[in-house]
Symmetry: C2
Amino acid sequence: MLATPVGAFGVLAKTIAPHLKPGAIVTDVGSVKGAVIADVSPHIPKGVHFIPAHPIAGTERSGPDAGFAELFDGRWCILTPLKGTNQRALKTLRTFWEQLGSKVDVMDAKHHDLVLAVTSHVPHLIAYNIVGTADDLSAVTEGEVIKYSAGGFRDFTRIAASDPTMWRDVFLNNKEAVLEVLGRFSEDLSALQRQIRWGDGDSLFKLFTRTRDIRRGVIDAGQDSAEVNFGRNVAVKKSKRRPR
Amino acid sequence: MLATPVGAFGVLAKTIAPHLKPGAIVTDVGSVKGAVIADVSPHIPKGVHFIPAHPIAGTERSGPDAGFAELFDGRWCILTPLKGTNQRALKTLRTFWEQLGSKVDVMDAKHHDLVLAVTSHVPHLIAYNIVGTADDLSAVTEGEVIKYSAGGFRDFTRIAASDPTMWRDVFLNNKEAVLEVLGRFSEDLSALQRQIRWGDGDSLFKLFTRTRDIRRGVIDAGQDSAEVNFGRNVAVKKSKRRPR
């Protein structure tokens, strides 16, 4: 979830390029890889290794103060080396991230951008969107939206509190993949809308059951805790809940 | 977020009706109020007070074991009395919820159903939908969706792990308000889609900034904690994060 404005990346690359020693490794931690490659690659001198990276870790806060010691523990870092990348340099970067606590995967930039569009970019977009829709609904006051947010909405406000500059840049720089996933999301939502309108409870039930398996997978993979969270962990821990 | 299948409510009301003493108060805790009123009211004997209620509290788990002592602390409970409801009975029910730790609001059922459509029902629907879309995306494997879920997606899987039976019934019984809010959501999402396609960063930035104010409101109203959550509270607490 960390990103840097991509326009700034090209300027930065151009500025540091004359000072890069042969054999140096240049990397980044941006959320979008295709645009960074297009922007930075032309400025990288011969003999310097440019290997884009994206650690899938972070919180709704940004900037240096938002870091903490365990930020990368058990989280995935994706490296998207270009064709013909020096294998020793790749191994060095992999070790770097592993020593920070990350697990490392390697894939091409185009696939990364599609995977992230579905696991991060579009989820953020729809969170921003529902909060905006709620804010605009004149029949419901802002006070009401806030007071009754514990029914699910508050989790979306948390996501929609992420850094506006960073997310604007993510959407502008991963346009193709975001629009592709968004198109599918809208198509699927239209189907749900129709099922609700026509009272097709069986189809709704089928989807709502299938999504539970994915949740189980996320917990089994150690990417989230099974601890209940809508009631917020603190409240639950205080009580004597029977374990399930 | 608690609900009971509304069809079952009518049957239940019909069954208990002959045994209700005059002066008794009948209430419920369903997520949708209009449909419950239509279903239950005809069976309530004269002299018995039917006052629908909806506590906006709960977690992604359901059933008696999902309860905990602080479940209702500081959460809102909405009462939706019918026209001509006995004021003393209303006061009794209000006191009941207040003694459980709730704050109590009174509004008409139609308004309740619209407010909840936007703060709870549609957020759940879009969470279910994005998890389904991700699962169907053949170019991205289920394993990838799960591994890289820490970028935002995992919060949606948590919501989409809610009880399928309950949520099917919520959507079927609050059809009108859900379709109204969903229509607006889709319209707004189309605008965002267009802004991304045409590179309108200013409009994106404007929305992403506005949504932060709502988040601040939710925290100020005590409906969520400001503690960062994407990194999951436990990891953050272990580190020596500077307070902000």
